[in-house]
Amino acid sequence: MSESTNMQCDDALRLLAQYLDRELSDGEHADMERHLRTCRSCFSRAEFEQRLKGELAALSAAAVPSALQDRIRVLLDNTR
């Protein structure tokens, strides 16, 4: 745990999700980055949460069934 920055670990953990979601103000975002540069514990936590978030984002890619491909093609052809 780090005492070397203004932000304490409790605050960092409270704001971590919003930080990773890019929902913090510029000032809070900078405070968080400063804290993460000096606190190994919070950095490890942030790294883990970021990676898990990335794994979830990767779920969006899926093989498209041919029936849907056909349906979209017909739909788009009808716009011409």
């Binding site: 999700a17 979601d21 883990f48 990767a58």
Partner: protein, 207 residues
Amino acid sequence: MSGVAAPRGASDTAWFSDAVVAILPELYGTARRLTKNAADAEDLAAEAVARAWRGRESLSDSNAFRHWMHRILANTYASWWRSARVRPVEEPLADEDSAEDRFSLFERLHQPFLLWFSTPEQEFLNKLLREDLERAIDQLPETFRVAVVLADVQGLSYQEIAHALRIPIGTVRSRLARGRAALQKALWQHGLDAGLVKAPAARSNNV
């Protein structure tokens, strides 16, 4: 899609078709997680594309197409949600900030007795399969699942989620926090059941 302004008029149909086809896998993949079944996911993706075509004038920057299309997909699903097509079961949201809502997979895995394995939490993620994550998401309570999919699978902002679901941003934040905690707990439980975590950790199974 290198231009700034989206093409306009009859000549933009080819551009629009190409743009849709390029991101169809992620539209369908997201729709699968939202609807939890293949038939509804196909309907959702197709309806979103049709809506996008009708509303194409609202796209002012072709570079923003992907995000714009995802917003339309989310809004389309939310409109189903509000209609008879999908009826969400509103889970009781009392008992805010329970221990359950603060569950952290990292804290379970980042234990002193496991640390000599180097980084047990990273090892855990290495062992997770795509289907493990899909199952964990699909099993979440409806309101939590939708919030987590819109934020983490689609990458929408809190404001965009609030707009799609017609709920305050504070509610988005709360559903996300609770949904993510529930997701991590499900993954932890799966890790125990599948033997992905070592036996000593199993003793701290209970929240």
